[in-house]
Amino acid sequence: MASIDIKNVRKDFGPVSVLKGVDLAIASGEFAVLVGPSGCGKSTLLRLIAGLEDASSGEIHIGGRRVDDLPPRDRDIAMVFQSYALYPHMNVRDNMGYSLRLKRTPQARIAEIVGRAGAKLGLEALGERKPRELSGGQRQRVAMGRAIVRNPKAFLFDEPLSNLDARMREQMRFEIRKLHRDLGATSVYVTHDQIEAMTMADRIVAMNAGIIQQVGTPLELYDDPANVFVAGFIGSPAMNFLTGEARRGETGVALSVGGKAFCTLPQAVAVPEDGRVTIGIRPERIRIGVGAGQAVEAAADLVETTGAASVVHVDLAGQAMKIFTTERLQLSQGQRIPLAIEAKDVCLFDPAGGGRLR
């Protein structure tokens, strides 16, 4: 177990800058999830930590030791790949024991360690099988097992669940989390799936365009996003963004959308000169019906239901908005519905830079 410190790391591929100065400290034993859209640099950052790519500048420390000049084999880390990267010509046992064999561990000891890891992952019966004879979930487990037997300072996961079907993914999510709880090893987990990030992370590192946008616990990012990117990326269905106007008044900041009053924020907010703002509100924080908070009227458009809950698409002064509700509603298209919006649930963003207005 070890901490991972990344200091001002840049990575350029020719003229393309993939990481534009990344600083990140991952505590010992922490489960950190790097999340962001494809091409945001999260996988590159993981590969830099692993030593599969060289940083253009900056420093990487694992357990206090600077590693950016060390080859992968000397960094004492284990990695689980998206494709699992199991050695096709070796059976499950040899796949898991390969790293120990390289370390010239005695055969009996290898058998013992591999056996224990296999038992932990439910792979006992599959020791003689080749990877091609395994299901996706089993391959995933073998890849995990290969990482576990190393007893490394840190685990790196590169979108390990992307190739699994939804149900399997849910199960493996849970198993990886449990495994982390048992082993307590520092883990860096890359995913583009915000649900994986939310459910698994001790801390989420949200990245976009080679820059870390926000670092925090899942709920911090959810409740208090630093900018439009984080607000829009975390949460499903995604946060609603409305183009609106803010006017400073005696009781606070009055927000309007399409000329109609939307909500009044009691606290002082730094509003741009022209008053134009992006209003963010999460779909589940909007209540249908008359209740506490500002009353707003919208026109129903479409209802999508999953059984447990529904997403109601509405039109508010010409702008589309989603509402998440557990009520079962029968709404016809164009039906006017009252909405209740509370000031504490509203986030304001600068439409120009996307930064949060506080």
Binding site: A50, L52, P71, R73, F81, A85, Y87, H89, Y98, R146
Partner: protein, 280 residues
């Protein structure tokens, strides 16, 4: 589309009819070779053309083995082809791996130059090669032939090997390198076993190319002691006569090593030639 039984029968007949014709066309020369090699001399030059001789005789084989330098030519060919196959494949594997895995300066130029070498007919370079090899003592030597065959095989073999390496995900090496292997060890223990089909296919290609080559073998090596067997076959064709019987017998014998070689590698070869054709 199933169609009536009649239509299906016609389709079936057409299908196998065409296949049959193809196989006959491909195998007929071989059959004729074997047939003549087994026909005794006295019935070889009769006017009638028989599909099979009335009496079979091994006299031509006896002539070839007992009364000629054929065994020497044979040995020379084995040495030249074997060493060429091994050397070309090793070098091509190294180069193909580099092209597949590394980005380096001049990469595209090297690929381009290698392609250019494939565009010239060999005849063009014979004179220069002869005048270079002469002073170096590489004419009338098996080493000379091995060098030339290896050099001419490498570009194509390299592209062949590169495509096999391209078919192996680079995550496998990365996983091995994280597991504690050096790149070289990862190459030997993880990548090489997976490239066996490719190696077999490349070796087969180089071996047969060298085995049947006659132009350089004829022009560079005039001494019998360094002749390969295609050159040896020509000895049966003199100004006065063509000794068809021994020539065909020698031809049949010359086929054997290639057959054995392909029999040994065919398991990998079929895999190798189809690898990467479909995903998964």
């Amino acid at each position: 589309m199933r169609g009536s039984p009649r239509v299906r029968l016609i389709k079936w007949s057409l299908h196998y009819g065409v296949l049959f014709l193809f196989v006959v066309a491909a195998l007929f020369p071989l059959y004729w070779l074997v047939k003549i090699s087994l026909t005794p001399n006295d019935s070889l030059y009769t006017h009638s053309i028989d599909l099979w001789p009335a009496t079979i005789s091994l006299e031509h084989y006896a002539t070839v083995i007992g009364n000629s330098d054929f065994l020497l030519f044979f040995r020379n060919s084995i040495i030249v082809s074997g060493v060429t196959a091994i050397a070309s494949t090793l070098l091509a594997a190294a180069a193909g791996y580099a092209f597949s895995r590394f980005v380096f300066r001049g990469r595209y130029w090297i690929v381009g130059v290698m392609l250019v070498t494939q565009m010239f007919p060999l005849v063009i370079v014979i004179t220069p090669i002869f005048s270079i090899f002469g002073p170096l003592g590489l004419t009338n030597s098996l080493t000379g032939l091995i060098i030339i065959y290896t050099a001419f095989n490498i570009p194509f073999a390299t592209f062949l090997m590169q495509s096999f390496f391209d078919g192996i995900p680079k995550e496998l090496e990365e996983a091995a390198m994280i597991d504690g292997a050096t790149r070289f060890k990862a190459l030997l223990q993880i990548i090489a076993p997976l490239t066996l089909p490719g190696i077999a296919a490349t070796m087969g290609f180089c071996f047969t190319g060298a085995w049947g080559e006659i132009l350089f073998a004829l022009l560079l090596n005039s001494a019998a002691s360094t002749s390969t067997f295609p050159v040896g076959l020509l000895l049966y064709s003199t100004r006065a006569t063509i000794e068809f019987g021994p020539m065909m017998a020698a031809g049949v014998l010359a086929l054997l090593p290639v057959c054995i070689f392909f029999f040994l590698i065919q398991r990998y070869l079929v895999q190798g030639l189809t690898a990467g054709a479909v995903k998964g």
